[in-house]
Symmetry: C2
Subunit: 351 residues, 2 copies
DNA sequence: CTGAAAGCGCTTACAG
DNA sequence: CTGAAAGCGCTTACAG
């Protein structure tokens, strides 16, 4: 079936040139006569030559491999980022070696050493969420390091995240565009950067439209329970409101449940926008929740683009923007429309 | 920060031995005096030596790297398999380079060539489902190839899948254990191997308990819609039934919805078992659906164990079983129990 | 434009 | 038990 692999010498011999010349042709380096080039290329084609990437790497010092350090690959959000990094990596003809720390700091460190041993040209650290902080390894590593979907302990590092402010603006614009004017933001801990960012964007969009929030932002946690509780607070405050931007989908669902339970119809009385697009990501077709999609694959993609720019000197790394634009997907929670009879039944069932 | 990397010669020099001896110590090969060994190890430790894995690989011909070819990494089921392979890979000190074909046959082929160029010691092909068939590459590749969560076009290949028959028995045993005796299997296309396997296991468990199916197996597709439709057929048949094993969770949910809509209570009147444990995998706590978990991470793990056994001559590859046992997770759809007050609220959500 | 030579960092028979 | 030497397959100055 498979015979002994053909090496560069075989090509050189077949083409009647030296090893050095053959190598230069394969790497598009040096000045080579066009005739020679064609001859070598033809030989490589004919013999189905596959350069040994490992030998090439040890000789050249560049492995064309990127190390990926996932804080927690099993996490719900890691996968899309991973898909994005890999897609872009292969667009640049780069390979990746992936290690999953599964939250273990010890593992993390041994993986890092493995990556060094394997001479990776760069590293992308995939965090476990935009509010998570990964221990910076940039100082210990010779090449560039990108942090995707998670911060780094060193503020100087290149961190790639969804654009929370833009997300907040997007949510506000959507609600305002629907004619809602008495808007509220309900989110998680105010100290979190994502929470602050989304709140800032939301507030700025309101201001830009000359609108006052119907209630000051309500802070809880990223959970359904917090949504229940926040809805109660909002109702008890007596404030009038017709639109809510929730910090994430869990909160949004909690809010929706409690508001409906209190007799307020969603979206007729109150329109709700979530964040994460969890249902959409899971492949649901008819969405209940309008939600902001953080474009996680694009985040991974962006991190790799930056890494590549760092590796290629002819590329300008500073042109790569670290914030990735979010998108909005619409569901019945803002634009309304009847659920199909069937999804009605389903939703009662699965809630 | 980081100085020039320390090489094996540095260790040899520091320990006052030859390069060959140092190498042997690092690889636990040859007979080395204990004193010498200690001296070398100490030097390596002191200088924080990290062997260059690439050089080691080109010299030895073994890269200690496994190639992973994913048919479709974005698929809902690929992730758990991937996590399993990687976990086990790192247990054996192996690295992996991952390529995602995203269903493209062309990509698939160029990725395969990349893997060859990178001198991987083995390959695991991650399919897009137990009924999917991947083009076999075993004949074109020099090392071992494992197919995880997907079949291969060559029946001689090593294929790792969840044990569908056992899953079927598990579902039946669970329902019977709950006192249900009029059982039915509702699944997808009868031609599919997974469907046939689950059906076989289910039927055999019934037989073992001296039970007749309450209705012949109903075949449709792996979708909610098929669940609706099958429920109708079942009801219209006039057959009495108190337990259903559904081919997957989508069907199960469809069944449950239609049965509830027709006035039958789940699980009081009809208990339902699904397959995939989608909600559980998504991290839901209080499950509506009792479901069979295909243990996808274990499938990936098993494939790697086999691969490793093939690579190490001293291991017995034939001891690795290609079928992975499924587990059953219980939800309200069979064991009942009230949803918590909170999920009750949620259920009112869209009522 | 092309080739002979040294080198990347390691491993592996083979003598001794 | 240890070392000198050749080798893995490739790249990269350096002459010419």
């Amino acid at each position: 079936m498979e015979s002994k692999p053909v090496r560069l010498v075989d090509i050189a011999r077949a083409a009647g040139v030296s090893l050095a010349t053959a190598s230069q042709v394969m790497n598009n380096s040096g000045r080579i006569a066009d005739a020679t080039r064609q001859r070598v290329l033809a030989a490589a084609e004919r013999l189905d030559y596959r350069p040994n990437a490992l030998a090439r790497a040890t000789a050249s010092g560049r492995s064309r491999t990127i190390g990926i350090l996932a804080e927690n690959a099993s996490g719900a959000f890691c996968m899309p980022v991973l898909v994005g990094t890999n897609r872009t990596l292969s667009r640049f003809n780069l390979a990746s070696v992936l290690y999953d720390a599964a939250h273990s700091v010890d593992l993390r460190h041994s993986h890092f050493r493995e990556l060094q041993a394997r001479q990776v040209d760069g590293i992308v650290v995939i965090g476990d969420g935009a509010d998570g902080v990964s221990q910076s390894i940039s100082q210990e590593f010779a090449g560039p390091v990108a942090y995707a979907f998670g911060k780094s302990s060193d503020p100087a590092d290149a961190v790639f995240l969804p654009d929370d402010e833009q997300a907040g603006r997007l949510a506000a614009e959507h609600l305002i565009g629907l004619g809602r004017t008495r808007l509220v933001h309900v989110s998680a801990e105010a100290e979190l950067a994502t929470v602050a960012g989304r709140a800032r964007g939301f507030a700025s969009a309101l201001a830009a439209h000359g609108l006052q929030p119907a209630h000051e932002p309500i802070h809880g946690t990223f959970s359904r329970e917090s949504g229940f509780y926040s809805a109660r607070r909002l109702i008890d405050s007596g404030a009038g409101f017709d639109g809510i931007f929730a910090g994430n989908d869990a909160i949004a669902v909690g809010l929706a449940a409690e508001l409906q339970a209190s007799g307020r119809r969603v979206p007729d009385d109150v329109a709700i926008v979530g964040f994460d697009n969890t249902a959409g990501q899971a492949g649901e077709r008819e969405l209940f929740l309008t939600s902001i999609d953080p474009q996680l694959a694009a985040v991974g993609s962006r991190a790799v683009e930056w890494l590549v720019a760092q590796l290629d000197d002819d590329q300008d790394a500073s042109s790569v923007v670290p914030s990735v634009e979010c998108t909005l997907v619409t569901g019945r929670s803002t634009v309304g429309g009847l659920p199909t009879p069937r999804s009605l039944v389903l939703e009662q069932l699965l809630a």
